[in-house]
Amino acid sequence: MDIFTLAIWVGTLVFLGVSFARDKVKTKQALKMAFGMGKGMVANILSIIFAIGLILTILPPTEIASFVGNRSVLLATIAAALFGTVTLVPAFIAFPLVGTLVNAGVSVVPAVAFLTTLTMVGAVTIPLEKKEFGLKFTVIRNSLSFLFAIVIALVMGVMI
């Protein structure tokens, strides 16, 4: 558990304690509300998680890396951004992977495109995002994030 996760837990528990001391009824209601929220989202979250598991098996990150490493920069960038879109890889796997790529001489542009879309754009989270925020919000946020991921990558290519 990283320090931020821990901090959120500690903060939440302290908040809960203070809340309970000040108003038991309200706190109970909040807990019920939290439980309800969890219940409403759990099916969607599990779908996301198992979809990621499936995608990682079909498209292992190492294979993505070798695929991206062997193409022209432009093609590699678009491919990397697309791969990043369909997968959600934890940072502790993504960074060493991209690090090896860059050290092996692959251009930073596809590497950065991959890193950014990995976390910011999520094909698997779209159904849940759509349910919570509506179609228009989801489509616009994800397409803008995708576009800007490529822009960031290209600018990085010029600067480094």
Partner: protein, 239 residues
């Protein structure tokens, strides 16, 4: 009709299940590996989501709407943008962990722009992630990418807010005067029926306003019930 609707609502879940069935039939070994791969993400979810849900509910209960509006609303300007970045980057967990929090904030008056900033920075600008990035790709790489990402988020959150209106998000549609249950949002937790049995009832698996009898509304109970609804499906419009 209802079955069709159920399928439509859970289409993604069905596709995933189908994917696993096919995988297990065609390549059992890869099917097992997929389940194993999912294991890490389940742990990641369990580690953060309970805290996020409780925290969101507590903030919802205790922080008044005016405060959220003041700090994260449309008129918060640069202060709102800055605060949204702070909220997003001190967060933990995957991007979907930001969803319940952002829905709650938007309901309480946070602007679309700030919601987009929180979601995006929640995804990319985490401090533990930055340390990792500096370790594997060098501090220069990390600093430049970090700067560019923040700039990009500032720009595209502004564009998003130009295109997306508050009404585009679910649960904003105006209805006739009086209390109203948004049945698309309701997930049947029965909390409102328990809180205010005189007004609410369950019709099938969703809550509804009792129509048979006209009662004099107790605004205090109604307000509490509205605030308690986990999905904010209850609204009250004045005449």
């Amino acid at each position: 009709m209802t079955i069709l609707k159920k399928i439509k609502e859970n289409l993604f879940l069905l596709i995933v299940v189908l994917g696993y069935v096919i995988m297990f039939l065609a390549r059992p070994a890869m099917g097992i590996e997929s389940v194993k791969n999912s294991g890490y993400y389940i742990k990641e979810m369990l580690m953060i989501m309970p805290a996020i849900f409780v925290l969101t509910a507590l903030l919802d209960m205790w922080v008044p709407k005016e405060k959220i509006m003041h700090y994260l609303g449309k008129d918060a300007k640069a202060k709102g943008v800055f605060l949204s970045f702070v909220v997003g980057s001190i967060s933990a967990g995957p991007i979907y962990a930001a969803f319940p929090m952002c829905v709650m904030l938007h309901k309480k008056g946070a602007s679309i722009r700030n919601i987009v900033i929180i979601l995006s920075s929640w995804a990319v600008i985490k401090v533990p992630m930055l340390i990792n990035e500096a370790k594997f790709l060098g501090p220069k790489f990390m600093v430049i990418r970090w700067g560019l990402t923040i700039t990009a988020i500032v720009i595209f959150s502004w564009i998003s807010a130009k295109i997306i209106k508050d009404e585009d998000l679910p649960g904003e549609a105006l209805a006739q005067p009086g209390p109203h249950v948004n049945r698309d949002a309701c997930m049947g937790c029965t909390l409102c029926v328990k809180n205010y049995p005189a007004l609410f009832e369950m019709q099938g698996k969703k809550a509804a306003i009792k129509t048979q009898e006209q009662i004099i509304l107790n605004m205090e109970i109604l307000q509490n019930t509205i605030e308690a609804c986990p999905v904010h499906a209850i609204e009250y419009h004045e005449e």
